[in-house]
Symmetry: C2
Subunit: 610 residues, 2 copies
């Protein structure tokens, strides 16, 4: 106990000095959880190989309250893995100790800092332990009370209980203050207890600064059966420094140098040599998974198939070659066709219900343990989780997204169900891959490429059946494109993807009758774009028409514009520019000017000028 | 009672025939709530002026489960406001009866269809009733059980309880089936009851097909004190047609013609002449609000002020001219400076805690009652609510968004806190306005323009203090720009906004010393863009450099590219292209090549080619 008290004091010392040195940071948010973390990591609960951060059976710790990063780094210093000198590089440009934890720091599991996301990541890690790797490691998530207002946390709560994740432990640091004032419930822990219980968790209420209670709680949590555990700890923000304890106005505020002196005087003698120890995990490994061959495609050239369906059959077909795939869906698997995978490999499919934010967070957690998550829902509903998608990139996640029901061409369901901004959303992620295949063959081939590629990939699928355009042995690469029609007399390039490729081909046939020739390019890889082919075609023809079932901003049109900006070749963008609505798919495509007719009108205008 | 049963039967009849006629739609989801809605609207509870949908004291009804649109339209037909013929136009391109309710239909309060959003809209309407208009109208929200998995619903639950919204009634249609299968809890209503209670609501459990219980529940709900009410109704999906009742596989599936015949035979004789009636609301109006004059600006030219701070002072300054403004913030009002408004007009400020999705939904609700909501948080965290923002556009909402802490220039907090994709996100909304002022004067002027403009406007603000660039009497318009530096010898245009305007001005001064002249344009209105000025400058100089503290995709650079695509003038885009991290603001700007030095290097390359 004495040892733990010394460690906690050292951690408090570290948290204070590093934020003062940086001139920014969140010391009070760190101090409130110092005893909890000391008890967890060094009190005999947490099992971790400090020299092997990738040990499959390591317990895992996520700081959902990522702003308590001083505490996070101090923990590992107290474990002997960082020096005081290194801690003092906190928040500097060249330091791995960033303002909120990122993968630059080797002990970070996932990048956090956007609140309310850590518990979902924990769900993913726990799902992996219980259902995939079948290892006994525990996942611990440090939560702020203020961030429990985020609905995403309650998605994680309900899903964790539903999947009986008794290997997931939340630790709620109820220090009663948010950033600008008191939380809704202050120190009324009964609110959190009642809610956690109502959501199916075992709730343990403790004094977050009483080490015996802390240790007992963690011991009790290890005994959990069938239910996840929420330790709800009453804490004091700024605990340990009287003049910053339990008061508003100290969130995100480092102590000035004179204040620090006072604080350190209060703390008293700090034993800087004390170190905490952690027992290593049991030497257990997940069963190895061996890839095997996959079946080739056998699409009949004359039978139209929806690309959304091809996504489902692809998942099922390629799994033998990628045995670490897992598939997640948000209550629409009969629409996205991920149900085809579910039928064949139910152990690798996780229904995530109508809770997209948690689905993405869990996918991140799963990906961090070597799985390849394929996550699907309607393209429109992926916007529900843009913050989680954004943050997953900062964890260098290897997640594959599929958004179905792209564009106005879904028809009668109307605007709420139409994905019209999803290409723009996914394009913003650094080094993301954005794919939009036009037929079932290319869809299946690209799903295979997705699985091979390391990083975030987004695939957009279409609701209605579309004709087969390619042979079963055609090759499709990320960054590639297909020239479907080409002649020396082409007066324009039609750059299309997905549903509009078919409209472009129809336009081609009609224009040919009028002796107007156009080049048609299937730009199935919107990012990275096949600039070489586009540039060549642009210079050849002198005019480019882009056509997409997507809003005008940030989509295929602007991607092409960016690629061709140095050429001086005019680019005419056809896109959804009018308020979308219910109607037949063909009516809507025509209404938005992105049907074959709209393309033909654009081409004829160009033809007139020549 | 007999009358209500007849009406319910008529509504079932309508729901079935219209979806069969359309060949799509959700009849079973409509049938499960038919008795609940019949009891609510025609059983003496709902008070509504059928000839005045805008009556300020009308009760309001939101279909959070928007896919039950057949039920929604059938209700109003049963009230005598639609004919059977009109119902049969359901989902047709020319019909106001869209697949999910939109404003095309006059009785729709807000467009729904993306699940889990209706309760937040209800929160906004209820906040308006209780705290702003001070009218006794009630807001009713029909909820599906499956969509209660959405975290956003629990944000609405907690906020509604916190604000004691006893004028908000949720009606949960627990029909136990989602789209692809059973929900997590089936018909175990105790789960919903315990959770609603734990979240501070009064929970009333009923049989959703027993009219006496239904009417009693609504009566009881009218007596609510200090707590919102959740009526949890056990229902049968497809109720009324035996072969589709309570079974999986019938979600979103209209009956075929032969199935319809069987169903109608089961229903039996339908009294098509029966009509339901609603009592009109009390003739009460909200107090009128009279605009008065606002103070002019008085910024000292030599004192740098952060644009985020100017946002706060602007809210406070312009309120007298816009007395129907309300301000919402998500626990960061001391960072966004909305706290300045809160201090002066606390009755018009609503703390929405760390729950951005609910904040936007509530803002939509508030806007629907004639308020002008100004909604703020960090730009990065607005991505949390992209789906709600997307859907608000489909309600033609009049919401003003402010995202602070834009870009890498926030410094040490690091990537999780940096808004780098927000311009792209807001540009995708049809006819949205996207503003990014560079100094405090232009910020304040643009906040005023925001309030005047009808529609969605997004304003991006900067964390650090920046110099005053403009005179206090300068005029700024949506769609405008400012040429800050111009000469006949300009070899390039630097098109910048926000923080990079200052970098551009620094670059200008340095380049001038090298006898290289550049035009500097403050493109504070990114959408709509001042194409005229840009085109003129592009043609004048022959080269354009865009520079933005934002990712390369979908932002200022691509907006400029789109505007200049016909000119053939090369556009060089400087943007954030490397993984951002903690560091000093100036270090990070330089690292990303968007500092004055990055601009100068780009200009020198152009100069060399001349």
């Amino acid at each position: 106990m004495n040892n733990l008290e010394s460690i906690a004091k050292l951690i408090r010392y570290y948290s204070l000095i590093m934020s003062t040195e940086a001139g920014s940071g969140h010391p009070t948010s760190s101090l409130s959880a110092a005893d909890l973390m000391t008890g967890l990591l060094f009190g005999g609960t947490f099992r971790y190989d400090l020299d092997n951060t990738h040990h499959p059976n390591n317990d895992r710790l996520i700081f959902s309250k990522g702003h308590a990063s001083p505490l996070f780094y101090s923990i590992w210093a107290a474990a002997g893995k960082l020096t005081e000198q290194e801690l003092l590089t906190f928040r500097k440009f060249t330091s791995p100790l960033e303002g909120h934890p990122t993968g630059e720091f080797k002990y970070t599991v996932a990048a956090t800092g956007s609140l309310g996301q850590g518990l979902s990541i924990g769900v993913g890690l726990a799902l992996n332990a219980k259902y995939i790797d079948k290892l006994p490691y525990r996942t611990y998530v440090l939560l702020g009370d203020s961030e429990m207002a985020e609905g995403s946390q309650w998605e994680a709560m309900e899903i964790a209980a539903h999947y009986k994740l008794d290997n997931l432990i939340g630790i709620m640091d109820v220090n009663r203050f948010g950033q600008r004032g008191e939380t809704m419930y202050g120190h009324d822990l009964s609110v959190y207890k009642d809610r956690a219980s109502a959501f199916g968790w075992e709730a343990i209420v403790i004094d977050g600064h009483h080490m015996p209670q802390i240790l007992t709680a963690f011991k009790q949590a290890l005994q959990a059966q069938e239910r996840p555990v929420m330790i709800i700890a009453k804490t004091i923000k700024g605990k340990g420094v009287s003049f910053i304890e339990d008061r508003n106005g100290w969130h995100g505020r480092p102590l000035k140098k004179d204040e620090l002196s006072r604080a350190l005087a209060e703390l008293g003698a700090v034993d800087k040599s004390v170190r905490g120890s952690m027992e290593k995990p049991e030497e257990l490994k997940p069963a190895e998974r061996f890839p095997s061959n996959i079946q080739p495609l056998s699409y009949a050239a004359d039978k139209p198939v929806a690309t959304r369906r091809a996504y489902g059959t692809a998942l099922e077909r390629i799994f033998p070659a990628f045995p670490n795939m897992v598939v997640l869906d948000a209550e629409v698997s009969n629409s996205t066709y991920s149900e085809l995978f579910k039928a064949k490999y139910p152990d690798r499919f996780f229904e995530m219900y109508i809770a997209e934010q948690n689905m993405i967070g869990a996918a991140l957690g799963l990906s961090l343990r070597g799985n390849i998550p394929f996550v699907s829902t309607f393209a429109a509903f992926l916007t529900r989780a843009f913050d989680q998608i954004r943050m997953s990139r900062y964890s260098n996640a290897n997640i594959k997204f599929c958004g179905s029901h792209a564009g106005v061409s879904i028809g009668e369901d109307g605007s709420s169900q139409m994905g019209l901004e999803d290409i723009a959303m996914f394009r913003t992620l650094l080094d993301s891959v954005v794919l939009y295949p036009s037929d079932a063959v290319s869809t299946e081939k690209l799903v295979e490429e997705m699985a091979q590629h390391r990083g975030i990939v987004y695939l957009r699928t279409t609701r209605k059946d579309t004709p087969i355009l390619y042979r079963n042995d055609e090759v499709f690469r990320i960054g590639g494109s297909k020239i479907l029609k080409s002649s020396k007399a082409d007066i324009a390039v039609i750059a299309a993807a997905g549903i509009t490729v078919h409209e472009a081909l129809r336009a081609y046939e009609e224009l040919k009758k009028e002796n107007i020739m156009v080049r048609v390019i299937d730009l199935y890889s919107i990012k990275p774009l096949d600039s070489t082919t586009l540039l060549h075609a642009a210079r050849d023809t002198g005019a480019v028409i882009t056509v997409e079932d997507h809003y005008a901003e940030g989509g295929l049109g602007e991607a092409v514009l960016s690629a061709l900006s140095a050429t001086g070749v005019p680019v005419h963008s056809l896109a959804v520019r009018k308020m979308p609505r219910s109607g037949k798919p063909d009516e809507l495509l025509a209404f938005e000017g992105i049907s074959s007719r709209g393309i033909m009108e654009a081409v004829r205008k160009i033809a007139k000028k020549r």
